[in-house]
Structures are given as structure tokens and as C-alpha cells.
């Protein structure tokens, strides 16, 4: 693998990303045509942007690595990442858009009219975001290490610095067009090497040898190829976390705000499903090819298989060029997801935790933009420090824990909040706290060093199967016990959440 070409490709991605954000759109957006200017972001563009932001290092590198090492059971990762959007679609997409909320704490406030629930949500956004940023930094470190041999801290530092500068320099990263571009870049980067390999071999069946025969035990589901106990439990628990965690990810909701109405929110989600399905066809192929061409990576954790495969198949210039393309795609993955997350987390830190304090400390003598910049810095420093302390966890595993935390906290809040009118404010708070503590305790145990084996390890490694029902149960029981704490505006909220925009009803106009 040639570092020079790969580094150039990575540099190009970085420059293109920042450049489009800072200059390109500012020029192209100037128009005197109102029809063009007041056209909302179409579901297609928005879906590309959501997918671009969503497909992180875990999807780009992690899934292929997991499948390579642990076999067919890991295919559930990409299935779960996709089904998550189906659940989001049928459970929350349209009502969430109609709530008018921009962040998850906004939703909590508008539905439960409680600053306490809002603050708990703000804390959880920061927690989930940090847990999700961690593997992005880890992936960036890995990519730079594979390409240049530099220690992992270097790559992580590069991504952290670029993201903070880019976000703080005006938050241009939230532009739909940039994130949409990232999706197509990632898809191209991942698909091209596969097509080249398949074309070069003329006889694709020979490439698939690793799936058959005596050495193919890894290709069987539930085979314990990865040395995991209770694979059936782990599979279900993982599936549950991924399916119901997606709706609670901080950077997802923010994008739904761009949809003009609930209907567009639904249509966007359908396109997202198509785009994700298309993308996830490829990582398993890397794993299959990797078993043939790079079997040594199985022992090395596997996360680098996507980066190394082109060079293994085609030693020489072709491999270098393809490798550079993949490295660029991987960097696009770190940048887009990290930026989206940092923007979302920093927005919440700024609004809920920092601005009022800053206002008090400086006696009102501050600029709102500065508050956001400080927030962006905090949003990135915390996961970076966590990265330097931990580091050893596999990419997709950490992401799985972030999903589990989201599924155990925001999922009950959103699902019950949208569909159950007898949910009380106390119930909401209790569910968030219980689910949050249970899932983050599991995450902490994992980071600190998981139990040796057997059920404890399975339960801690994939906690969603018990933490999520626990959170749901807590909300329901506590709500039943505190019927007097059902928010007074529940009926009005329900009307607003579920009525199509076309209907002219009293949508509960401001009480101010």
C-alpha cells in the first residue's frame, strides 16, 4: 500500500468537504429566483444526507471486520442498522417531525412540559454521542495507522481537530448537500474495488471458496467462530439494540427537522432504507474476499480488512489506487459522522448546559456563537480523552453499546410519548434514569474489562435485551402510580403529533 497516494486521497476528501461547506454553496445558493430558493430539501437529498451522516466508521470498516473475524452472525449488524430505520419510520418519523422539536431534549420539553426531563435528555444526548464518537476516532486512528504506520492517536487527533475547526468555524457541516455528497462518496469508495475484483477474476465463484467446504465453519450462523457464548441471546439482543436505538441517536432527529412536514419525513425514511440496503451489500463481500486473500487479518481484529484488501488482491498501482479510494471513503465516513454528531451534541451542550451559565458568569457579556464554539470543543475533547484511555474495543462493539443506551432511554421516551396518552412526567424521568443507568453500567463494565465468560459476559456485552424492557416497564409502572403527573397538555400534544398538516385544526397555539 502506498502511503503517498492514500494520504493524497484523504487530503482531497478533507479539502473537498471543507471547501464545499465553506465556499461552494455560498456562491451557488445566490439566486433571485424565489421558486428555487424557497424549495424545501427534497426527500431524496435529505435521505442521502441522513445516510451520509449515518454510515460511520463502524459501517464502513467495522462490519466487514466483524464478519471476517466472527462470521455470519455479524451480518446482523448491517441488518440491524437498516431495520432501525424501518422502526423509526413506523413508530416515530411523522409524529416526531410534527412535534416541531429540533433536538431530543426539545421533544421531551414539548411533550412533558418539564425542565427536569429536558435536562436528563440533554445529559443522555451527550452520553450517547460520546459513546458513538469514540469508535469514529478509533477508526480514524486505525485508518491512518494502516496507511502510514503512525500510532493510532495521530489519526484520531487529525479527525478531532478537523471536525472541531470545521464545526466551530460556522457549523457549515450541517449543510444537506455536503452530507449527501458524503454518502455517494462512501458508496463509490466501497463498491468500486469489489467490482474491479469481481471483473478481474472473471469467475466469481472461485472467489467465494471461503464460504464452502471444510474451512467454512465461520460462514455458518451461531457457530461461535468469534468465541462468543450464547450466540442466540447475543444475536437477539444486538438486533433489539440496533432496531430500536436508531431513533434515539442525536444526529438523526436533527436531520428530520429539515423535512417540511410529517409526510416528507416518512418518504425520506423510505429512501434512507433503500440507500442503506444498497450500501450494506458490500461490507460482507469484503469479509468473504478477506478470508481468501488476507486470512492473517482474522487474528488481528479484522477492522482493517476493507483498507488492506485492494492491496492484497492487486499488488501494484491498481491496488494502490483502489486502496487510496477506500482510505478516502473511510475518512469521509469518520468526518461526516463525527461532524454530524459533534454538531448535534454541541447544540445540546450549548443550549441546555452552557449558554445560561455563560450568561451568568459573564453578566450577559458573551456572544452566542462563542458559546457554541466552546460547546463544540467540549463535545470532541471528552470522547478524545476517553479514546486515549480505552482504545482496545472493537469498532462495531462500541457502536453497539451506544445503540443499546439509546434503545434503553430515548426509545421508550419517544415510543410511549407518541403513542401512550397516560404517560406521566415522573414515568418519563424514571424510565430515562433506570434505562440510562442500566445500559451505561453495562457499557462501563465492558470498557473496564468484561467478565470472563458465560452469561455475565453475554448480558453485559449485549445489554439491550434486558435494559430496554426494563426501561419500558419502569415508564409504564411509574406512570400508572403517578396519574396526577400526566402533563396537562397531553391531549393537545397528541393532536399535534398525529394530525396531518393538511388538516386545519386547533394545533394548540402558544400559551404565551
Amino acid at each position: 500500500m502506498s502511503p503517498a497516494i492514500s494520504l493524497t486521497a484523504i487530503g482531497l476528501v478533507v479539502v473537498a468537504t471543507i471547501g464545499i461547506g465553506l465556499f461552494g454553496l455560498r456562491i451557488s445558493r445566490t439566486t433571485s429566483d424565489f421558486y428555487v430558493a424557497s424549495r424545501a430539501v427534497s426527500p431524496r437529498w435529505n435521505a442521502s444526507a441522513i445516510s451520509g451522516e449515518y454510515l460511520s466508521a463502524a459501517s464502513f470498516l467495522g462490519v466487514a471486520g466483524l464478519v471476517l473475524v466472527n462470521g455470519a452472525d455479524m451480518l446482523w449488524f448491517s441488518v440491524g442498522y437498516t431495520v432501525g430505520y424501518l422502526m423509526l419510520l413506523v413508530l416515530v418519523a411523522a409524529p416526531l417531525r410534527r412535534s416541531g422539536a429540533y433536538t431530543l431534549p426539545d421533544f421531551a420539553e414539548t411533550r412533558f412540559e418539564s425542565p427536569v426531563v429536558r435536562r436528563i435528555c440533554a445529559g443522555l444526548v451527550v452520553g450517547i454521542g460520546t459513546l458513538y464518537l469514540l469508535p469514529q476516532l478509533h477508526g480514524a486512528g486505525l485508518a491512518v495507522q494502516t496507511v502510514t504506520g503512525a500510532p493510532p492517536q495521530v489519526g484520531a487527533m487529525i479527525v478531532a481537530v478537523i471536525v472541531v475547526i470545521n464545526v466551530a468555524a460556522g457549523g457549515m457541516r450541517s449543510i444537506t448537500f455536503v452530507q449527501a455528497f458524503q454518502y455517494w462518496l462512501k458508496l463509490t469508495a466501497l463498491a468500486t474495488p469489489i467490482f474491479v475484483i469481481l471483473l478481474a477474476w472473471h469467475q466469481p465463484v472461485g472467489v467465494l471458496d471461503s464460504l464452502h467446504g471444510a474451512a467454512a465453519e465461520w460462514a455458518e450462523p451461531l457457530s461461535r467462530a468469534g468465541g462468543r457464548d450464547h450466540p442466540l441471546y447475543a444475536t437477539y439482543s444486538l438486533l433489539l439494540a440496533l432496531c430500536f436505538g436508531t431513533m434515539g441517536l442525536p444526529h438523526v432527529l436533527v436531520r428530520f427537522y429539515t423535512n417540511p412536514d410529517g409526510r416528507a419525513a416518512r418518504r425520506t425514511t423510505v429512501v434512507v432504507l433503500a440507500l442503506l440496503g444498497l450500501f450494506y451489500l458490500f461490507p460482507p463481500m469484503y469479509a468473504v474476499l478477506g478470508r481468501t486473500f488476507a486470512p492473517d487479518l482474522v487474528g488481528a481484529g479484522g477492522d482493517t480488512v476493507v483498507l488492506e484488501l485492494p492491496g492484497r488482491v492487486f499488488p501494484g498501482t491498481t491496488g494502490d489506487l483502489l486502496g487510496a479510494l477506500v482510505a478516502a471513503g473511510a475518512f469521509a465516513a469518520f468526518l461526516s459522522t463525527s461532524s454530524g454528531l459533534t454538531v448535534a451534541i454541541a447544540g445540546v451542550i450549548d443550549q441546555d448546559l452552557l449558554r445560561s451559565r455563560l450568561h451568568r458568569w459573564t453578566g450577559g457579556d458573551y456572544v452566542a456563537v462563542n458559546s457554541f464554539r466552546i460547546a463544540a470543543l467540549i463535545a470532541m475533547i471528552v470522547p478524545y480523552l476517553a479514546f486515549t484511555v480505552t482504545g482496545a474495543l472493537s469498532l462495531a462493539d462500541t457502536v453497539g453499546l451506544a445503540f443499546a443506551l439509546a434503545a434503553s432511554t430515548f426509545c421508550p421516551l419517544l415510543v410511549l410519548g407518541i403513542w401512550w396518552r397516560r404517560m406521566s412526567t415522573t414515568g418519563a424521568a424514571a424510565g430515562l434514569v433506570v434505562g440510562g443507568i442500566a445500559a451505561s453500567a453495562a457499557a462501563l463494565v465492558n470498557v473496564a474489562g468484561a467478565p470472563e465468560g458465560g452469561w455475565p459476559r453475554a448480558l453485559v456485552g449485549q445489554p439491550a435485551a434486558w435494559t430496554m424492557p426494563l426501561a419500558f416497564l419502569t415508564v409504564i409502572v411509574v406512570s400508572k402510580l403517578t396519574p396526577h403527573r400526566i402533563p396537562a397538555g397531553t391531549a393537545r400534544s397528541m393532536v399535534r403529533l398525529h394530525t396531518p398538516e393538511a388538516v386545519d385544526v386547533d394545533r394548540g397555539l402558544p400559551s404565551r
Partner: protein, 376 residues
């Protein structure tokens, strides 16, 4: 038969009740104006009738608001002391019963020897006290004074509510006033009229635009709309202005599509554009450029309207924003006041201008603000 007749006229107890209610009804209109000295003065006569004491006083922290009852030297003596008598109750909110030791003035002829001091409370705050003077305090008097004070509190609270309602009506009136400027109607219709003979088809189109504009501007219900809808209305407005100014009016737009769904108070952009058109084009013969921008700032949308016209003295704008002058920047003050009312004082208009340097008006809107929802 006899019994029925008695019932018809009422028992003595009934009659007393009616008298009390009648007296109370006489006092209430005055109290509904709030606790001003004038209102308190008029009400206090009826309140004394209710209690039947020698004198009553209503005091707040600034002093005696009203006095009714014995006059002459007795009044001036006790009036002077009233503030001190009232002070503990004003502070604690508890009824105080004061004996001759605290109250009597030394004149044996004086009918005032004792006093009952009761608080008048609105929204859990002691706003004033009612002092009932007599020569002898009974438990019944204390009870009656307390009841009257409670009734007065209720009336004063209603007065506060009335004030709130007046304020809300004023806000609504301000919004109404922003909806459409007579200046613009006149100019638009004049421009349309000029096309009626030369280009009837265009005149027809313009009239339809005008109809749509008016329907949006005069719509009923709903204080909020989306930025997309507001921009659509700005477009109609500019089509009408372009009929008047032709190629002299140049508009460019930089709108981030991400902020189009942001909910904004109805008619906040259009008055700014109208202002820009007026400053940028009227009174000159050259070309005026107007730029409308909407940027995505994470939690907020930043919207600005800029013209390259004559600009103005910052002092004039300051006066317009504070609502002092009835100058040609009326729209600005109105928009500023409404933004502050909805989102708080940190969300007003920011105007950058100087003579001969154009004008740029910027404001920010949070993407989410509790209680703010668009209505269709």
C-alpha cells in the same frame, strides 16, 4: 299565605345579605381599575359601609392610599400613624389586631381606639393592607375585616387579569398593524392601474398576486408560520413592487433550504423587505439591490435583509426600534417588539447602518421554542 309573602320580601337575614351584596357591587367597579389612589378612594367609602366601622384606610408600602370615616383632627392624627401600623402586616402577610395602647391618639373624644390590619394579597404577594378602625374590636369584626380584605384581593387580581388582557390585545393590534401598510396598498394599486390599458393580462396577474398577498396578510388565527410560507409572501410583495420599479429593483436570495421549515412569527420578514425597498429605491433614480439571506446556525436560523440604498442615521433607527418616532421605519419597531415578546430580549433586530452605507437588518430565530408552533 302569610309565610309565602314573607318569603317573597325576604327574611331579615336575606335583606342583610342583599344589602351587603349591593354595597359590594358598588365598590367593585372601582377596584377593578387596580389599586390606584383614586380607585381606592372611591371604593373605600363602600368598604366602610360593609364593615360599619368608624374609619378605614388602605395602605401600601408607599403610604396611605385612601382614608374614609371620621375626619378633622382625628383623621390627620391617625393618618400619620397608619403607615407604621401597616408595616408589620405588609411584611408578614398576617392579620394584626391592635389595641388602644398602639392606636389611641390621646383625645378621649376620638372614636378610634383599636384597629384590625389585614393583608390584601394578589398572586401570593401582599400588595396592600386594609385597616379597620373602631373603638372596640370584636372577633366578629376581625373576621369581617378579613373577609372584606379577601374580597378586595380577588377584585384586585381580576384587575391584574384585565391588564394582562389589555396587553395581549395591544400585542394583537401591533401584529395587525404590521400586516399591511396603506402606503404599500396605494402604490401597488397605482402600479396595477398603470398596466390596465397597456397590458391588461399583466394587470390581471398582478391583481391576483395582490389578492393572494392580502389573503395571507389579513388571515385570521395563528401567530406563526414557516419561513417557507413567509418567503412565498415576500415574493408576492416583490412582484408587486417590481411592477412599480421595473428593472430598478434587483433582488438576490441566499436561502439555506435547511431553515425553510423553521417556525417564525407571521409577517416578520416582509416588513423588513418593505423597509429595504423604501430605503433602497425611493427618492433615488438608480438601481437598488436587495439581498435576503437565511443561514443555518445549528440551533438557530439567522435571517437578514440588506439594501444598498441611502442608509440612515443610527440614531433615527434607535428611535424607531424603541417605538418613539412615527417615522418611515415603523415596521422595524413593530417586528423588533414582536420578536422580543416571543423569544425574549436576546432575539431582537440588529440593524447595521450609516448614512450612504446601506442598511442591513438581521435577526435570529431559535429552531425550537416551547409553545411556538406553526398553524396551517
Amino acid at each position: 299565605m302569610f309565610a309565602r309573602r314573607r318569603k317573597h320580601f325576604g327574611t331579615p337575614a336575606d335583606k342583610a345579605t342583599y344589602a351587603t351584596l349591593h354595597t359590594a357591587s358598588l365598590a367593585s367597579p372601582h377596584l377593578r381599575e387596580g389599586l390606584t389612589p383614586a380607585a381606592a378612594g372611591k371604593a373605600s367609602r363602600h368598604l366602610r359601609d360593609l364593615l360599619g366601622t368608624a374609619a378605614i384606610a388602605i395602605c401600601d408600602s408607599s403610604g396611605v392610599l385612601a382614608w374614609d370615616g371620621v375626619g378633622g383632627p382625628y383623621e390627620s392624627n391617625h393618618r400619620r400613624d397608619a403607615k407604621d401600623l401597616a408595616a408589620p402586616t405588609l411584611r408578614s402577610g398576617r392579620t394584626a389586631v391592635l389595641g388602644a395602647h398602639d392606636v389611641a391618639c390621646g383625645d378621649p373624644q376620638c372614636p378610634i381606639r383599636t384597629a384590625v390590619v389585614t393583608p390584601i394579597v394578589t398572586e401570593e404577594r401582599v400588595v396592600a393592607v386594609l385597616v379597620a378602625y373602631s373603638n372596640n374590636t370584636s372577633a366578629a369584626l376581625v373576621r369581617a375585616t378579613e373577609e372584606v380584605a379577601r374580597w378586595v384581593s380577588g377584585q384586585v387580581e381580576l384587575a391584574e387579569l384585565n391588564k394582562e388582557r389589555t396587553r395581549a390585545m395591544e400585542a394583537e393590534l401591533r401584529a395587525l398593524r404590521a400586516q399591511i401598510s396603506p402606503h404599500f396598498i396605494y402604490n401597488a394599486l397605482a402600479a396595477i392601474a398603470s398596466f390596465v390599458r397597456t397590458d391588461p393580462e399583466r394587470a390581471r396577474e398582478l391583481l391576483l398576486e395582490f389578492a393572494d398577498f392580502s389573503r395571507y396578510a389579513l388571515r385570521r388565527g395563528g401567530e406563526y408560520t414557516t419561513l417557507a410560507d413567509e418567503l412565498r409572501n415576500v415574493e408576492r410583495y416583490l412582484v408587486l413592487e417590481q411592477a412599480r420599479f421595473g428593472d430598478r429593483l434587483k433582488v438576490s436570495l441566499q436561502i439555506a433550504p435547511e431553515v425553510l421549515p423553521v417556525v417564525i412569527p407571521f409577517l416578520v420578514v416582509q416588513p423588513l423587505v418593505e423597509n429595504a425597498v423604501r430605503h433602497g429605491l425611493e427618492g433615488t433614480t438608480g438601481v437598488g439591490n436587495i439581498t435576503i439571506r437565511a443561514r443555518d446556525q445549528i440551533n438557530e436560523a439567522e435571517i437578514s435583509v440588506e439594501d444598498d440604498g441611502a442608509g440612515s442615521d443610527p440614531e433615527v433607527i434607535r428611535a424607531a426600534l424603541s417605538g418613539e418616532s412615527g417615522s418611515d421605519s415603523v415596521g422595524l419597531g413593530n417586528v423588533d417588539a414582536r420578536l422580543r415578546q416571543v423569544y425574549g430580549d436576546t432575539y431582537g433586530l440588529v440593524v447595521e447602518t450609516a448614512v450612504d452605507a446601506g442598511t442591513k437588518v438581521t435577526f435570529r430565530i431559535p429552531k425550537y421554542s416551547s409553545g411556538v408552533h406553526a398553524s396551517p
